[in-house]
Subunit: 319 residues, 3 copies
């Protein structure tokens, strides 16, 4: 009897799972982040810490370990409700890819972050978020120069990632030579190659990229976990077609505390023929749950380029 | 045995609820409303009664009565498929907010209806919908004059609502002094304050607002339920920066009948230095379900401004 | 006991179904299709085979066989993430309709494919997808000439379909005389009428349409299933307002094989005062599942208009 009831219960549970499954082939996900930002000499503004996203993604099991995957991701400004760059960017500016994954790795086609840009944000203690981000991991480099904004993605591209072997993974992105936003890609295919490693306390990446205008970018990044503290460092060299290059580096730490995390970092962007611009940042991110946090950050820029301080206070919600 | 089976069943039910829950942190909602509209002297058109919306919202329980909330709302034209104002408005023109709610009330940040504009539509018997809407609750006033359309919202704002105490609630919206659509906000922060009451047969609101261009708006609205009939009235004064003001008022009734509702109203908008424009409206909204209705309305405008009659016939579907 | 446990299980199952149901009134659906395309004389491009879509739809049971339905469908370019025509088209370019269905048939209002255009793609062996599509079912005809793109839909329209009786169905679309994209519709209402039949091995349609600029279009299409092969043919006549007409025809086959389908076809578009342009196409579509396939196609255009060959290789994923 008991077993029969149990069996029934399990059968029902399976059926329920089926229903929930059948509900949709699509998962909606996203980030809503908004807060107050004050730059020295500027008025108090409502802005964002992280990039705001609304996405639709799905995975279909094709059997034999083969899966079909897709992902569409809008990005928008929470303070005005427009898509990024005041509506100038694509509806699915974030990502627009479809592909297959399996024992061979994963291949995607469409528009996405380049192999180098995708993991790069892991090596800024602020993850490219809030006024704390040091903007020194990629500095002034843009993968796609056909537009004034959104320069860290390839459109018209194929993206391949190997399986992870002993913590190592190789990622390659190659774009077509199609004109982009009316800007022709003159000679060669833009491409991006990144080798990443993650094992135990150490994670690292080595990346090289050629942009749509044939600028090149070389970066080496590392992170090491010591107790509650993750120490981060990044070095990169951005070589322009005209041979002038920038050198960028940062050091930082992401320290877990009982109620969230303390972030700190220092970074520099140094154009070959100009003075360096440096930034020091400090932040405290207070976790309300795994999905929601309050954050406050302060940063100070010095040297060439825009000097001054910035502080923020905001809320970050993941769904 | 019985109890064991029952216990199992309950456990399974809980698990199922979990699944359905896990399914998504997002609820999709919206309104699709389209119909035929005939204005005197114009051709028969396909248009809308209500504002069409596609929204994404979520609530996360943070424990201790604290909740994280977000809401993204697109608005569009059902007859052409474009976003409002032929694609000129933001993707999330309706709302784009994230915030927290709890014992202290609710605070949101981003873009939303102002404290005064949000409840105002409750005091037009037609709820700002169909050709019946009297357009006299807010008249010619716009909270945000940086754009020719969509003037009843603040971008770059913080929105706070107190808890409801004995039916009373206070709502406050304050926008930053950031330029909007290239239009600078010269002197002071735009703000909106509304006190609302709902208890027994009576509901009412008193609101005051200062727009992005420092126009001001004062409104007093009331509704009283007598049997099947809800009687509504609104009075407002729109003071322009140049000191010229409009005076607006309306009276109306929303009468529940077995198959839906009968709506009627009369309103006036009177600029200080010009003749009044008046409108009389009559409508019947036929409920097919809680989510779907057919509606037909007729209105007649007289006096200064656009005179003439308008009739509509449409379907309103909520999802 | 056993029955009691069973009864409980069924009760729970019903409750679960309820939950899954309650989850949402909306179903998200779509197509993501991207691949490599090479045209003779052109560079290798990343493009699409099918039209990429993200849609939101719902059905509400109103009782007595009556249902409320809605559908919103975005279309976009997977290679760049923009909406179609580089963001020039409506957000819900695909469809934006709400309506009722029941014993009387189905009526929708808003924007959708015309009665003639909706079933037309069934008679191209490539279904208007990939470089294989013969472009000969509708040829140069456009239902809506108010825009350079997306000419096979009516905006501001009412769409009615009869019930299917003995395999026959009549579909009628009528658009208003409103100006579209600033282009006035001068004299008469655009309309579209299509009679469709599907029964046993035979399916066919006869359609007639008058476009927004009063061009007219007549088409007769048929398909016949013989074993694994569906044979298709189409004939149409596109009469311009200036009396000059095109004559279009195609023959093709869609042959089911164990692993997917083989497609082949030949078609011609012949303007009255110009030479014909012809296309021959061959394709193999490899099914990975009911929702996902890989495809490769080749086509050769000859005669007037753009001559040359095209080949593609891509992935098509439905969700």
């Amino acid at each position: 009897m008991k077993t029969s009831a149990l069996a029934l219960a399990l059968a029902v549970l399976t059926a329920c799972a089926g229903m929930a499954q059948a509900e949709s082939n699509v998962t909606i996900y996203g980030v809503l982040d908004a807060g107050l930002i004050k730059n020295s000499g500027g008025t108090l503004q409502v802005g964002k810490g992280d990039f705001n996203r609304l996405g639709f993604k799905g995975v279909e099991d094709l059997g034999g370990g083969l899966k079909a995957t897709f992902r569409l991701e809008s990005r928008f400004q929470p303070d005005t409700g427009t898509t990024e760059a005041n509506g100038q960017r694509p509806l699915f500016q974030g990502r627009s890819v479809v592909g297959l994954s399996g024992a061979f790795g994963a291949v995607k086609i469409g528009r996405d972050l380049t192999a180098v840009q995708d993991p790069a944000s892991d090596f800024d203690p602020f993850g490219f978020q809030t006024v704390g981000t040091l903007d020194a991991v990629t500095g002034n480099y843009m993968s796609d120069t056909s537009t004034a904004s959104s320069g860290n993605r390839f459109s018209n591209a194929v993206f391949y990632s190997t399986p992870v072997v002993h913590g190592f993974q190789l990622n390659i992105s190659v774009a077509s030579k199609e004109p982009l936003n009316g800007v022709p890609i003159v000679k060669s295919n833009p491409y991006s190659v990144a080798a990443t490693y993650g094992g135990g306390p150490l994670s690292a990446m080595l990346g090289y990229e050629r942009a749509t205008n044939e600028d090149t970018f070389l970066t080496l990044n590392g992170a090491y976990q010591i107790g509650a503290a993750k120490l981060l460092t990044s070095y990169s060299r951005f070589q322009r077609v005209n041979r002038v290059h920038d050198t960028n580096w940062l050091v930082g730490a992401d320290i877990a505390v009982a109620t969230g995390a303390v972030k700190l970092g220092y970074g520099q962007v140094k154009p070959e023929n100009a003075g360096a611009s440096r930034q020091a940042s400090l932040g405290y991110w207070h976790a309300l749950s795994k999905r929601t946090m309050l954050y406050t950050d302060a940063s100070r820029r010095t040297g060439a380029g825009s000097s001054g301080t910035a502080v923020d206070l905001g809320i970050h919600h993941t769904f």
